[in-house]
């Protein structure tokens, strides 16, 4: 059959046959994925290690750097590329698990917006320079001949621990400076202060797994408090045989709150009042008399009716919470972000801790922790106070040289602190960074860091696990960019500029770490052997003999202020953090942007969460664009209506609203930190993160953009996809069986 003479009839015949084989022949079409020969390169090893087999991964141990918990991590490396990260089963922090932030560490490493070359500000813009030029600039400004005076230099970092902390301290000491600001917006700084004052240890060991009931005042331990991975594993034990009860008190539902048996949206700022009310109920109705005299009088003023009125909760709920604490002992009371983020935050947390003392939890569910014996290596977890003290110091005398590492104050500081303006007055700003974030973009010298998967380090977890462990970070693959350098390597270069004698023996940070671990006193190592270093690299961990001290039960003054109402700004602003974008540091990782918020299921955006009743009162509908105004400024976002929020609050998530930080982060959503009042907790000086009052009005335009949600429907549209039964019907028909 000649092809150009095909008739209509023949064509139909052909199609008829084709129908029978259609499912088969479809497989022979090289569709859009046409793999042409000779287009890709394939390169062999020059001389491979014996154990390397292309196509089969080799796992190396390292340490996750996505949050201060420093989980142990295993990375699968294939053909010289790291491809997958998992938890290290031997780590006491995460016992083999790794959260989504940890998994997304790969995208920080392979991020297309990495800084790949040193840059210096020339004529107002950052231009690429060579390392020799960069080091010469450093030597001129901060070397031993620079005449830099200790008071004129500062380090601004995120939480640090291990030998990185030792290096920073050594550099500060070499210049004679004590100015180290450790800035973390998502923190448990007030909890630590209260633990230190009342229990005699800032970092006690919490045993959720031993508790029968956990009462948490805004401690989102499954999401953003301490180490969510560590607590999730404790939580699973807490929830099994017998099943523990979780009571969560918070103004906006967190991941932990959504798992609670009883969720109480106390009016923001009244967490302490509620704690005192529960204490009152425990004393009067449950005969708990183990109350320090100092508290007795205070508690007596917080009767059920007063507390119900101030917190906006029903008396019945308060009674139930108190009864649970008594009946399901041992209990554990925690306090986190939404309890500590007020001007009287310390008082709220102290009132919660007082419940622990009353209920006899100290020694049962709160145990003495174990600390690494080397003070300098312990985690320096910092807090938001150092944002304020840094801004004050810049105002007062300023600095000649400031180093930035792992902190982004231009993004995290409230607008009221005028951080960007103040930084402009610093003579020489040096950013050690993987990315061009807002602070790095203002620097005079940018030193490109190797990624956390290419670098050496040692870390001590910020979370207390009961085991003193040093977690080793080692490169999982060769550097992607030849002109990036490890943090420790840069520090060694800078230290050599100040004190060449002490550090000249170390060619690089690897040599320094190896020497440090080799020379660690044998008595401090657990199971010390001759090949400690090899073992540490294989397991990723170095167990040491921890130091611990007994816990005390001390009282502090609790002075709970009367809650006030505010006519001009009737609502409380909740800058809510989530496991994902965290404080905004992960906004440049598309996996975490794409992973929906655990409560609202919204992706790639900011939103304003409101209670449906509040919205109805204000005439606001789902999806409306609203303007949220504080005394410091305003932001706009679309409304998401949800009942999991106090009627007195509006919540805007942290993490978006970047003006820089690469293609994935830039220009998405708003940053609620910008409109915070710079008020502080009176006792600790921590930023009162949840203490800002706002008003809500219609936004500038409704436009056409909608919030993008995974799912999209709140109901089953009558399809009974999941069969449900009400509790009382269940009780009547199947309960007690």
């Amino acid at each position: 059959m000649s092809l150009d003479k095909v008739k209509r009839r023949d064509f139909l015949k052909i199609m008829g046959w084709g129908g029978a084989g259609a499912t088969l022949v479809g497989c022979d079409m090289p569709t859009t994925v046409t793999l042409e020969e000779g287009k890709e390169e394939v390169v062999s090893y020059l001389a491979p290690e014996e154990f390397v087999i292309p196509g089969i991964g080799v796992w190396y141990a390292s340490t996750c750097q996505q949050c201060p918990a420093a989980c142990g991590m295993h990375g699968r490396v294939r053909e010289g590329r790291v491809l997958k990260l998992e938890g290290n089963p031997d780590s006491s922090v995460n016992a083999g698990a790794l959260c989504q932030m940890g998994q997304a560490g790969l995208q920080g490493h392979y991020n297309p917006d990495r800084v790949t070359k040193p840059m210096a500000r020339k004529g107002g813009t950052l231009v690429e320079i060579s390392w020799s030029e960069a080091l010469a600039m450093l030597d001129e400004k901060a070397g031993s001949k620079s005449g830099l005076n200790g008071d004129r230099m500062a380090w601004v970092t995120g939480a640090v621990s291990g030998h990185q902390s030792v290096m920073i301290n050594a550099h500060l000491a070499s210049v004679g400076s004590r100015n180290h600001y450790v800035q973390e917006v998502v923190n448990d700084a007030v909890w630590r202060a209260v633990c230190s004052d009342m229990l005699g240890s800032s970092n006690p060991l919490l045993r959720l797994d031993k508790a029968g009931v956990v009462l948490s005042f805004g401690a989102d331990f499954l999401g953003t408090w301490g180490s969510p991975v560590h607590f999730a594993s404790q939580y699973s034990k807490f929830r099994t045989s017998p099943r523990g009860t979780l009571v969560q008190v918070e103004p906006k539902m967190t991941l932990t709150g959504s798992n609670a048996d009883l969720w109480l949206p106390a009016r923001p700022g009244t967490e302490g009042v509620l704690a005192l009310g529960i204490a009152h109920e425990l004393m009067t109705a449950h005969g708990i008399t183990n109350v320090p005299a100092q508290f007795k009088e205070l508690i007596s003023g917080y009767g059920l009716n007063r507390v119900a009125e101030e917190t906006g909760l029903s008396a019945e709920h308060i009674r139930r919470a108190a009864k649970l604490l008594k009946d399901s002992a041992p209990s554990l009371v925690l306090a986190g972000a939404s309890a500590q983020g007020h001007e009287h935050g310390y008082q709220c947390v102290a009132a919660a801790m007082m419940l622990n003392i009353m209920l006899g939890n100290v020694g049962k569910t709160i145990e003495a922790g174990s600390e690494v014996p080397f003070n300098q290596m312990r985690p320096n977890t910092g807090g938001s106070r150092d944002l304020l003290t840094f801004a004050e110091a810049l105002d007062k005398d300023g600095y000649d040289v400031v180093f930035f590492y792992g902190a982004n104050p231009v993004y995290t500081a409230p607008e009221a602190l005028k951080m960007a303006d103040k930084l402009g007055k610093v003579g020489f700003k040096v950013a050690l960074s993987q990315f061009e974030d807002e602070t790095t973009a203002m620097a005079d010298l940018v030193l490109p860091l190797a990624s956390t998967l290419e670098d050496w380090g040692t870390h001590v977890s910020a979370v207390q696990t009961g085991a003193a462990e040093i977690s080793v970070q080692q490169p999982l693959m060769e550097k992607l960019y030849a002109d990036t350098r490890g943090f420790g390597d840069i520090m060694l270069d800078m230290l050599k500029m100040r004190k060449s004698n002490a550090y000249s023996g170390f060619d690089d940070y690897y040599a320094y770490l190896r020497n440090a671990i080799k020379n660690m006193p044998a008595g401090s190592k657990k199971n010390a052997t001759a090949d400690d270093w090899d073992k540490a690299l294989q397991t990723g961990l170095l167990a040491v003999n921890g130091k611990s001290g007994a816990l005390t039960s001390r009282s502090v003054n609790i002075d709970m202020p009367k809650t006030d109402s505010n006519q001009q700004y009737p609502l409380h602003l909740i800058p809510s953090a989530r496991l994902g974008l965290w404080d905004g540091r992960h906004a440049n990782l598309p996996w975490l942007q794409e992973a929906p918020d655990q409560i609202t299921k919204i992706v790639w955006d900011s939103w304003a969460e409101l209670h449906p009743k509040t919205a109805a009162r204000l005439g606001i509908k789902q999806g409306d664009n609203i303007r949220i105004t504080s005394s410091q400024g305003s932001i706009e976002a679309r409304v998401y209506l949800y009942k999991g929020i106090s009627q007195d609050a509006v919540a805007v998530p942290l993490g978006q609203g970047h003006e820089g930080y690469g293609r994935y982060a830039k220009g998405i959503g708003v940053n609620p930190l910008k409109i915070l009042n710079p008020a502080t907790d009176r006792k600790t000086g921590e930023l009162a993160l949840f203490g800002t009052r706002v008003s809500v009005s219609a936004g500038s335009s409704n436009g056409t953009e909608a919030l993008v949600r995974l799912g999209g429907s709140e109901t089953q549209v009558g399809r009974k996809l999941v069969a449900t039964i009400s509790a009382d019907v269940f009780e009547r028909t199947e309960g007690g069986a």
Binding site: L3, D4, V6, F11, I14, M15, W17, G18, G21, L24, V25, G26, C27, D28, M29, P30, T31, T32, V33, T34, L35, E36, E37, G38, K39, E40, E41, V42, V43, S44, Y45, L46, A47, P48, I53, P54, G55, I56, E79, G80, R81
Partner: protein
Amino acid sequence: MSVTQHFSTGRSTFCGLKRTSQDRKVPGPVAFLLFCLALLMMSAPVFAAGTVPGAVAPPDTFNGDDVAQPIEFPHDIHAKVNQINCMYCHTYARRSKVAGIPPTSKCLGCHSIIATDKPRIKQLTEYWEKNEPPKWKKVHDVPDFVHFTHEKHLKRFVFDNDEMPVERVSEVCAFCHGEVKEMTVAKKTKPLTMGFCRRCHEANNGPFDCWKCHK
């Protein structure tokens, strides 16, 4: 290793039809019919009883491009003239999903002594002395969403096949790679499409679940 790009050139092969100058002149509807015919021919291949015991060799053919390599590696001299087993160099085939390009050190294992005066070996030695492996061009590939493993195929046709001596492994390799021992540099002579895989799995009782290959 250089980062590879899978989607760089878009679709330019269409069952290999578009390559001849004659086809380019064919008007649209007729080209479509030609395509239908081609599909029909492929849908009913004839499986010839092969020489590999306990196996049916796939009969499909494909006329691939000639690919210029950095060194014109003569497969014929190695595999045919000198009778070197395929797995001597592609040693990972029995252990891994990929057969692997032999490490440069393996080439030098022989060629630091043998045929050192030949131009191609001089070229190879230059690479070795620069500490740089040659950047070969990939000839055989399947998409990233296909999980193909050499290890399992060799197990089925050679190591678990009592009648098949390992010395004759090249006949099994030829199922998908064609008669490489007749070539200098490799050329794609089998279509490696899903239909090709599927028909062979059918003829040889291979697994048929979607997820066996699309994991």
